[in-house]
């Protein structure tokens, strides 16, 4: 039994049994959340896996090449560490070009670009055994960064892009600040994992510029409906670790009503104001101009948090 090679299978087909591979029963998990949980569970339970075989299509009437999606999750899930770099053999009777053409023509997500990266092989069903025996291309971290990630094209699939931008922004700022977030769980979206994997290439914790509040400490206010989802934690960390650990503080308001009712702005050294504060989206700028004469307001919106 070669338990270092695993194959994802459905129903009565059992090539795993036939060839002595570890059989991983596919559970019709099609959302990113479910696939994420499932692959984490697989690699926790089968720590010996060194190679994986995945049908390009998984699930009932699969028009979406869900197997490719599963493969991308393996490549982009950081928690899997070195396991995410193992050889992946996809099974389909179509060629790489046919799969990509199909995805482009039919407005599907372009998961097929994974097939054009190193460490991945596409084979016909009848060639599984040979490929499993001969294909051993594990990629390195360096190859992942320079040969795999730049070739992938993944787009945001969430309808509420604003929410994803906020989560992404909090993680990105935390990365700059050298802080591991505890109040925000890494979203399992493939797009997020992809962005997160790419970000590691460029971002290292940054040194801060001093702003003259080191002795006094920084008294800051964050007005943001997503405050509790990472932002407060990372901003507080920056204020305490880089300005004054004992005298810096961060007050939080999560809705426009509270912010509007409060008059206590004069003693703040800095105010972080979400420009798309619900329910009065896009009115925050106008409100800030009329209600506040504060000299130091940092305007934030999701996309600025994301790319800024």
């Amino acid at each position: 039994m070669n338990n270092q090679i695993a194959i994802i299978e459905e129903h009565k087909i059992s090539l795993g049994e036939k060839f002595g591979f570890t059989r991983l029963e596919y559970l019709q998990e099609v959302t990113d959340q479910k696939i994420d949980e499932w692959i984490n569970q697989i690699f926790d339970q089968h720590s010996t896996i060194e190679k994986i075989i995945i049908p390009a299509r998984l699930g009932k009437d699969d028009t979406d090449y869900t197997g490719l999606r599963v493969g991308l999750h393996i490549r982009l899930t950081k928690r899997l560490n070195a396991k995410r770099l193992i050889p992946i053999i996809f099974v389909s009777e179509q060629t790489k070009s046919e799969i990509i053409s199909n995805q482009i023509e039919n407005n599907k997500e372009k998961t097929g670009y994974l097939l054009f990266t190193p460490g991945v092989k596409l084979v016909s069903s009848f060639d599984i055994k040979t490929a499993a025996e001969t294909f051993n291309t594990t990629i390195s971290e360096h190859e992942m960064k320079i040969l795999v990630l730049p070739k992938l094209i993944l787009t945001n699939q969430r309808e509420q892009g604003h929410q994803l931008a906020n989560e992404w922004g909090a993680f990105r700022l935390a990365k700059f600040a050298g802080k591991e977030l505890t109040t925000l769980k890494l979203p399992p979206d493939l797009y997020f994992k992809y962005q997160f994997a790419k970000t590691d290439i460029n971002i290292q914790p940054q040194k801060v510029s001093f702003i003259g509040l080191e002795k006094k400490g920084c008294n800051a206010l964050l007005i943001d409906d997503y405050a509790e989802k990472g932002w407060a934690e990372v901003l507080e960390h920056i204020l305490r670790s880089h300005i004054n650990p004992h005298r810096s503080k961060l007050e939080i308001m999560t809705n426009f009503e509270d912010a509007y009712a409060s008059q206590n702005y004069e003693d703040k050294d800095i105010i972080f104001l979400d420009l798309r504060l619900k329910p009065e989206e896009d009115k925050a700028s106008e409100w800030a101009q009329t209600k506040l004469s504060h000299p130091w307001i940092n305007f934030c919106v999701g996309s600025r948090k994301l790319w800024g």
Binding site: I13, S92, N107, S125, F126, R158, E159, Q160
Partner: protein
């Protein structure tokens, strides 16, 4: 009448899909009606009485109303498609082939107009939401899925392949094979399939050779429909 429930709150139907979807839909006044808001319950009940299908946005509000519409569609066996921006892949109902629990919104709108054109062209056909999911090249797309599925199945049977027992009546493999013949010979697929069946019933063949036969069938389907 197909009822399309989408609140279109930010005008996405006109700006997000390359064409003005509202304008496109107006070309099919007898086939589909767009509903952005339900004013009265009576109005809704009237719609459900004559609906041939319900297409509804997962975030159609209020959510209780959306749930009610979906429930009623299910109870009355009306084809139901729930489209959403949240899920990347298509989720079919486990038991009812007339229901798609979730389909990506972009994809739904991408296929909607070709689907309506097909319905208009073939009014005698019953409305099949599978054709909405697979797009205008339904036959090609489904054939490729069957080819992948049978490829895996036959590679598993390499040393022990037996046409008669592996493609028994009521197995999924037999249904898949029959569907290929339906695409190839819509008028007399049963006769054509019987000829094929008799040929392999009496002939010793191996799994790989049999799969080559299947690939030839799929190639012919692609040639016919593309």
């Amino acid at each position: 009448m197909i009822y399309l429930f989408d609140d279109n709150e930010f005008g996405q139907m006109s700006s997000n899909y390359g064409v003005d979807m509202l304008e496109e839909l107006s070309n099919f006044p007898k086939l589909i009606k767009h509903i952005n808001k339900v004013a009265k319950n009576e109005e809704l009940d009237d719609m459900l009485k004559i609906a041939t299908a319900i297409f509804i946005h997962a975030s159609f509000s209020p959510s209780k109303l959306k749930d009610y519409i979906c429930k009623k569609a299910e109870e009355r066996h009306i084809p139901l498609v729930v489209f959403t921006g949240q899920e990347p892949t298509t989720i079919w109902d486990d038991k009812n082939p007339k229901i798609i629990r979730k389909i990506k919104k972009d994809r739904f709108y991408h296929y909607l107009i070709p689907f309506l054109k097909h319905c208009q062209e073939y009014p005698q056909e019953s409305l099949e939401i599978r054709k909405l999911v697979f797009g205008k090249n339904y036959e090609v797309e489904k054939s490729l899925i069957i080819q992948d599925r049978l490829g895996l199945f036959l590679s598993f049977r390499t040393d022990i392949f037996n046409y008669e027992s592996d493609f028994k009546i009521s197995t999924q493999e037999r249904k898949d094979l029959l569907e290929l013949f339906f695409f190839l010979y819509p008028e007399n697929y049963e006769i054509e399939f019987l000829n094929f069946h008799n040929r392999f019933k009496n002939q010793q063949t191996d799994a790989r050779s049999f799969f080559i036969e299947i690939k030839n069938l799929v190639s012919t389907i692609i040639h016919i429909y593309e």
